[in-house]
Amino acid sequence: MHELVLAEMPSAGDEETGPFVNVHVTVNGAPRSATVETRTLLVHFLRENLSLTGTHIGCDTTNCGACTILLDGKAVKSCTILAVQADGRELRTVEGLETDGKLHPIQEGFIEEHGLQCGFCTPGMMMCSVALLQKNPHPTEEQIRRAISGNLCRCTGYVNIVKAIQHAANKMAGPSGGGRP
């Protein structure tokens, strides 16, 4: 059996909660853990248990991609994964993009190209883009549009989002960009 520690019920006697489980993950390079119900979704674990509210809940139904994070480097919808499924694995959220006070090229791209209006889809869009650029540093417009096809934006019409991702791709490929992942 996978080493899974079943936890004591924090509120013993409450029949409307549990069963509980301890979940240990690495988020943006730091080890984090919490005791949660087995049914806790990863997005709720991040937001409610770890207070990482940069990951948004949009539709709750696997459609919109606002909750996109990286799970072992792959872009996934965290509303459709159990927290316990991520036990022992590595997560990256929008909070992990900025390092040492310096914005990630994808964040700069969204600012420079006006890639957002209301901003609700933006964390998911950026995480999806980071995964794309890791796998394909020089995507065509078609490849960018395909890659973000699971992320919905109701403001921009996507044109500036595509430009933002192209901006980041150019910057990361350029002499000073250093190809930062």
Binding site: R39, I81, L82
Partner: protein, 304 residues
Amino acid sequence: MTPRYSIAQEVWGVIPPRFEYFAPSSIDEAVQILDRFGGEAKVLAGGQSLLPVMKLRLAEPRALVDINRIPDLAHIREDAKSLRIGATTRTNDLNDSELIHARYPILSDAAYEIADPLVRNMGTVGGNVSHGDPANDLPACMLALGAHFVVRSPTGTRTIPAKEFYQDTFVTALESNELLLEIQIPKARPGQGNAYVKLEKRIGDFPIVGVAANLVLTTKGTIESAGLALTAVGPTALKATEAERHLVGKAPEDAAFQRAAEFAQEITSPVSDLRGPAEYKRAMVRVLALRALHRASARAHGGA
């Protein structure tokens, strides 16, 4: 029945009902747990269909058996006789596989259009074929390719042909204590070509219609064997047996394809819904069957 609400639900919105969670590290352990719960446990692979239906309370299993911690269930390999795809292979792994692109393009056609790229990073090939949803894309591909499914129960292993697997909507030949381990597809041969063609309103939506076609040509250029199967136009993915029979021995040309497409139309029973009226879907079966057969034929002749 009174709906069950907890405080958590009011705070959090859509969450699944409670369940016991198991993460076995071996196949034997997994099927023992499934057996113990006698149909009240569900297998959690990618979870991209299971978790949504649990959130909507369309399914309330007492236990989930997470098979992602079992080693060697995710693989794509070809041996002397078969292409073998492990049950927890992610759908996007089909897209990323050179072997699949080069030799089994029907699978990369389908995988490229299943749900969206994020869902494909979690969703598994095994889940797609064993869920029993007539709108899933891979079952038709498996029917057209003549795939076999290797399944394990506490009493042993058996192999189920795809054509015997799909019994009704969400009903398959898989017993509640059985776990799908691997999909075995007859190894690609010279003169073989295949394609999957799908019509959908937008990325991420269920298909309106999908058609899977697989042709093997003789050295003289006639059709030696044919597979044709349909998505989302019946209670299960449908194998168009009459159409297949009609194609064998014919030249891979429009005349034979036209007649086969009509045979395929005859076995459908689409329902009118938001994706279109039944007549439209039935008309599209013919159109897509023609496209799939022509593309399969072009690939059998060495084209893309």
